[in-house]
């Protein structure tokens, strides 16, 4: 047990949590911004998977990891555009489009993989290139901080930056306010003169961008090979975190952090001679407990009100 605690309270563990956190945070923020504007985007998983593949293919085609990242973002945006086209322009139920995009993505990635690598499982035979690991000059010498802010993959820093920008967008700009308004009450927003469709299109595009970055993270550093179905539910965990945090961005971020903390603890626990069935349900039990606490508190608040 002492050995276990020494692992948990180490700098290495902290950077593990960050590594696990980044894709989940992108996923939950992607779900957050779309649902803030009133379009629930459940295609996060599919967009991530598609972008993860295109990051590999792109960097292989162009032999440049940065161009690969751009191509991967492009793929994510195309998926978001399909969602926009179907829901906003043609009035389809966003949940249905989301399901369609997820199933499409799961199979289409395998199809593309086979097309370009003659292999249906992995991209291991492609010489794709990853983004560098960034060592920040001064911070890399400060204990604890260096585990979080130095020696991480490039997209981790993109993640930090995009979270700040997103917070500014949502809480400090008129556009952020309009998104909230469009999400809260479409008709009221329209009456107030907001172009609801335009606001929603922007929100879904940002959602696609964030999910694409989350997918690209998986194959441009964290891992270098695309494996079939490699997102493995991270998009869904992000959506669950969004559901708990609701319209509160900090709430969503904290929930996501707790999820990744549980996930990292699970990874450490799994090396001890404990029943793996029990270990692997830790993150999900964590989610369930979180939801119970959340519902109880909302219930109490509603009673007070």
């Amino acid at each position: 047990m002492s050995e276990f605690l020494s692992v948990i309270f180490s700098e290495e563990f902290l950077s593990t949590v960050i590594r696990v956190l980044v894709p989940l945070l992108f996923a939950s923020m992607s779900a957050y911004i779309a649902s803030l504007a009133g379009i629930p985007n459940i295609a996060v998983e599919g967009i991530m998977l598609m972008s993860a593949l295109f990051a590999v293919l792109g960097s292989y085609w162009t032999q440049s990891s940065w161009l690969g990242l751009l191509i991967s973002i492009g793929a994510g945006l195309v998926m978001a555009l399909i969602l926009i086209l179907c829901t906003i322009k043609m009035g389809t139920n966003p949940i249905l489009v989301g399901i369609a995009l997820n199933t499409f993505s799961a199979s289409f990635t395998v199809f593309l993989l086979y097309l370009f690598t003659q292999n249906k499982g992995t991209s291991a035979s492609l010489a794709s290139i990853v983004l560098p690991i960034v060592n920040v000059p001064i911070i890399e010498k400060i204990p604890v901080l260096r585990a979080i802010f130095s020696g991480q993959y490039t997209i981790t820093y993109v993640c930090i930056l995009s979270m700040i920008l997103l917070a500014v967008l949502v809480y400090q700009t008129p556009l952020g306010m309009r998104m909230k308004a469009a999400g809260l009450d479409e008709r009221a927003a329209k009456t107030a003169g907001i172009d609801v469709n335009k606001v929603r299109i922007i929100a879904v595009l940002i959602s696609g961008l964030l999910a694409a970055l989350g997918g690209a993270y998986m194959t441009t550093g964290y891992l270098s090979i695309f494996t079939k179905n490699m997102i493995a539910g991270r998009g869904w965990i992000g959506i669950a975190a969004q559901a708990m945090g609701g319209t509160n961005m900090l709430g969503v971020a904290i929930t996501t952090f707790v999820f990744s903390l549980f996930q990292a603890v699970t990874n450490v626990f799994s090396l001890y001679d404990l029943p793996s069935e029990l270990i692997n349900i830790i993150p999900y039990v964590g989610v369930l407990l979180g939801i119970i606490i959340f519902s109880v508190s909302t219930y109490r608040n509603s009673k007070k009100g």
């Binding site: 249906k120 499982g121 794709s128 964290y222 079939k228 799994s270 090396l271």
Partner: protein
């Protein structure tokens, strides 16, 4: 309102008709195809000059996993080269609810031999075999064999494979190889925690325990989540493991990523994984050797018997002695591992082949497996 209901009802009925047509269509089309196949066969027997063409169907969920199913497919491609063999690869997909119909369709397809089975698909495989007693079946990797006169099944001595892998791992961790550390710890990343997978681990633990080496076992509980497998392997390396064996299919690629990042060793599984990783030389460089389970060779073996007219029935276990399991001895292995360690591994392999070692099987003896697992994973003092 009534109108809408009528329209819906009519539509549903029309769709229902389509559904009936869709399900019955293949059945009505099938008999003529079968008849022609049968006619061809009788023609073949009537004219002895024309050789009989053996039609073989191979049913797997998918190919392209770089290991297990690809090895089966390699066996199929090997027999495809025979002048008198025609093979069909049937990829059933991952939706198990459809597998039964794939097997039944194959039984109606007029094949001489149906190759399929393995842990996941056995239920459907044996159900089809029961229903079609005249059809010959070959189970390329059985776990729960059902004795039927028309089925021949093989399994591989995975505990022996684990034992050999454990031998190599425990020798490397105690060696002075450049990336080996002082701690006597090795790791194994196993896709999921169930007996057929633990069969890889029991022999591994047994020899490591005998050699005084601690084993870290990690289950990502997924065959596709390579990120999780990577995190688990990174933890193992951080705790002092210098070599980790991946037995986790596609997810296992994450182990090689971890080995490259931690600058340590890894073992591959099922087939020579340095070939599969040709696009990523830095990952391939971490692989000391791969421990294979040659399903392809047994597919070829079964087809050979079929052609010779001596198709067997019953079940058979293939191990080190038969060459069905073992380790890849490529140039990279020879370059990385010093001669004396290779000799020691070879000596241990010879011992297993000669039957001098009793290897614990997690599948056959759960109590012994739990016991060795507890002993081998206990921290060293």
């Amino acid at each position: 309102m009534k109108k809408i209901i009528t329209v819906i009802l009519v539509l549903m009925m029309a769709l229902g008709m389509f559904a009936c047509v869709a399900t019955t269509a293949p059945a009505t089309e099938e008999p003529p195809a079968e008849a022609t196949a049968a006619a061809e066969q009788t023609e073949a027997t009537e004219a002895p000059a024309a050789e009989k063409i053996y039609k073989v169907a191979v049913l797997v969920p998918f190919i392209g996993d770089q290991s297990y199913f690809d090895s089966v497919n390699a066996g199929r491609l090997a027999v495809e080269d025979y002048p008198n063999v025609e093979t069909t690869l049937i990829e059933m997909g991952e939706d198990k609810s459809k597998w039964e119909s794939y097997y039944l369709d194959a039984c109606e397809g007029g094949y001489d031999l149906i190759v399929g089975g393995n842990n996941d698909a056995e239920e459907y495989f044996y159900a089809a075999a029961k229903q079609y007693p005249d059809q010959k079946f070959f189970n390329f990797d059985y776990v729960n064999h059902v004795e039927l006169p028309n089925v021949f099944a093989v399994t591989y001595n995975t505990p022996e494979l684990g034992y050999v892998a454990g031998t190599a791992a425990s020798l490397i961790t105690q060696s002075s190889m450049p990336k080996a550390n002082a701690e006597k710890i090795v790791g194994i990343v196993v896709g999921m925690d169930f007996p057929a997978m633990n069969d890889f681990v029991s022999g591994f633990c047994q020899i490591c325990y005998e050699n005084g080496v601690q084993v870290l076992i990690g289950y990502p509980e997924s065959f596709t989540d390579s990120a999780k497998a990577k995190e688990i392997a990174l933890n193992m390396y951080a705790q002092g493991a210098d070599v980790v064996w991946q037995v986790a299919g596609g997810a296992g690629l994450g182990v090689f990523e971890a080995a490259a990042e931690a600058d340590k060793y890894a073992f591959g599984v099922d087939s020579d994984q340095t070939i599969a990783l040709s696009g990523q030389p830095n990952l391939a460089a971490t692989i000391v050797t791969s421990f294979y389970k040659d399903c392809g060779a047994s597919v070829k073996y079964a087809v050979d018997m079929l052609i010779a007219g001596t198709y067997p029935t019953g079940a058979k276990t293939l191990g080190i002695k038969e060459g069905a399991v073992g380790l890849i001895q490529n140039q990279q292995y020879i370059d990385m591992v010093p001669q004396e360690i290779r000799d020691q591994i070879d000596a241990q392999v010879a011992k297993v082949a000669a039957g001098e070692v009793t290897v614990i099987s997690a599948l056959a003896d759960d109590a012994a497996w739990q016991d060795i697992k507890a002993k081998a994973t206990a921290p060293l003092n």
